[in-house]
Amino acid sequence: MGVVHGQEMVLNIGPQHPATHGVLRLQVKTDGEVVSEITPYLGYLHRCFEKHCENVTYEQVIPYTDRCDYLASMTNNFGYVVAVEALMDIKVNDRVEHIRVIMAELQRIASHLLGLGAFGLDVGAFTPFLHMLRDRERILDLFEMTCGARLLYNYMWVGGLSHDLPVGFVESTYNFLDYFEPKIDEFVNLLVHNKIFVERTADIGRMPQEVAVSYGVTGPNLRASGVKWDLRKNDPYSIYKSFEFDVPVGEGGKGSVGDCWDRFYVRVLEMKESIKILRQALASLPKEGDIHQSIPKKIRPPKGTIYKRTESPRGDLGYYIESDGTNIPYRLKMRSPAFTALSVIDEIAAGWLLSDVLAILGSLDIVLGEIDR
């Protein structure tokens, strides 16, 4: 029998599709099962974040940032308040800084847990997803204990926090860490070295370093490509300078550097580093300190511009704020890490099989709320 030549076909994945992690439409051109071109269509979740920001005061922006990356609201708050504080030259006290770091690192673990679980789900592993959600629930309980909300917190304010830590929080967090640390090894056995999982992810969707840098890919996706770049180390904000932790990078453990498996494994290692930071921050948490001490009566930053980046679970989260001296931002732009991570999909996923494209999309760990804003 001769060679059968395929004919190109255009196929829509989404907008309503569980594998797209939200409301995203991928238009793929396929030749048989091989995908030759991917065109993402965004905007299904566009809620005019930037336009809203030009109509509300600085403190009213914080709840909107919650709703951008709804899986990592704490770090979104964190990035925004750090930017406004830098614009207004506010210093917060040590207790506030410690609590912020604790919350951000807990959020990083929670976000990675969901990201990893959903990635497993994308390639057909259902059980790890339930394990990871079970443990994520315990982190959400800690957040609920602190500020009453489980997902959208509005917890970090410019110059402080909305609530102090409740009685028993530190012990509960220690308990959680003691419980969670051995669980990571369980995940590793369950999924990371699982033969089926490795077959689906190793050597798939390799992202070379220069492609990652040119596309502005940051965070775990960039580190998986072997670039040792973490804003907590390279451009330290808050009090990250005083903690000891490593920056894990992809080493191509099962295939080549920068493949889907590396992107997965870097996130697993990052959770371990977050635990290290959490233990140090809990141990050095100052007992005294008013969390409302530096909150200004009126937030009116002086005229000026600032671009401030922080490390969210998905990468460099930047806020570009132009102030005209009033209590309303003149222009506020959010540079979202998931936006840049999704833009690379055509470059790294074209040429792979259709099922691999979904694995690659899952490995980038995108959140559509943050892409569409």
Binding site: V3, H5, D31, E33, V34, S36, E37, L42, G43, H46, C48, E50, K51, E54, N55, V56, T57, Q60, D203, V211, V213, S214, Y215, G216, V227, W229, N234, D235, S256, T305, Y307, R309, D316, G318, Y320, E322, Y330, R331, K333, R335, F339, T340, S343, E347, A350, G351, W352, L353, D372, R373
Partner: protein
């Protein structure tokens, strides 16, 4: 991927570029076949950007600057260098916080900023547009160098009546989407952008929402568009 496979794929890609797809389609191993096709797609796509890279190279070859210490007064030094290499591009001599450029040579300057070894701004951190009033729109570029760990900000002003700025999406690939977003929100046109469409809003949306004089359209496909409430307290 081992070396033999790499070699084989390279050969196949060469044949594919010449128009001979038979050898690729004949491969039995599905994974290898898909890899070859991926390489072919990439080769076809990179054909165009390569021209621009050559162009950029020529520009940077004209005169090379001694590798001097840039850690202090980075913006000032960049401003001086730009003035030297591209006379007339620098709008404002004051480069304390940012560098203000004219749109004319922006593409060449961007290529030079990336390729100049002492600067090597290899990543575009953030690109945004802003309506600064007085019929002026401004595009702002936050550049960052992974190698030297330094940042700078470039600003380019254009008139609201003719908002055209050269696109840099072939220099920093992420500019592709950033520029589409700026076009979507402020209507700044980026010339030579290969795929300038709206990105977040529907293609047939009217107006540029982040301009200060924006009026929401009354209806969209027969659906009433809710008005923005005024008077937040």
């Amino acid at each position: 991927m081992n070396e033999d496979q790499d070699k084989l794929i390279a050969e196949l890609v060469e044949k594919g570029l010449a128009g001979d797809m038979e050898p690729i389609n004949e491969i039995e191993d599905r994974v290898l076949r898909s890899k070859a096709k991926a390489a072919l797609v990439k080769a076809k796509r990179s054909a165009k950007p390569q021209e621009t890279e050559d162009h950029v190279k020529q520009v940077s070859d004209k005169s090379s600057i001694d590798d001097k210490s840039l850690s202090e007064n980075l913006n000032e030094n960049i401003g001086e260098m730009v003035n030297e290499k591209f006379p007339g591009s620098l709008v404002n001599e004051n480069t304390e916080t940012h560098i203000q450029l004219t749109p004319d040579h922006w593409f060449e300057i961007a290529g030079w900023l990336k390729s100049e070894p002492s600067l090597s701004f290899d990543s575009l951190q953030c690109q945004t547009g802003i309506d600064i009033g007085e019929n002026t729109l401004e595009a702002r570029y936050n550049l960052h160098s992974m190698k030297h760990n330094h940042c700078t900000e470039i600003r380019i002003s254009v008139s609201i009546n003719k908002p055209v700025i050269p696109s840099v999406e072939q220099i920093w690939r992420i500019a592709d989407w950033f520029e589409r977003e700026t076009y979507d929100m402020l209507g700044i046109e980026f010339s030579d952008h290969r795929d300038l469409r709206r990105i977040l809003l529907p293609d047939d949306w009217e107006g540029w929402p982040l301009r200060k004089d924006y009026q929401v359209q009354e209806t969209y496909h027969g659906i009433e568009v809710p008005k923005m409430k005024e008077g937040w307290e």
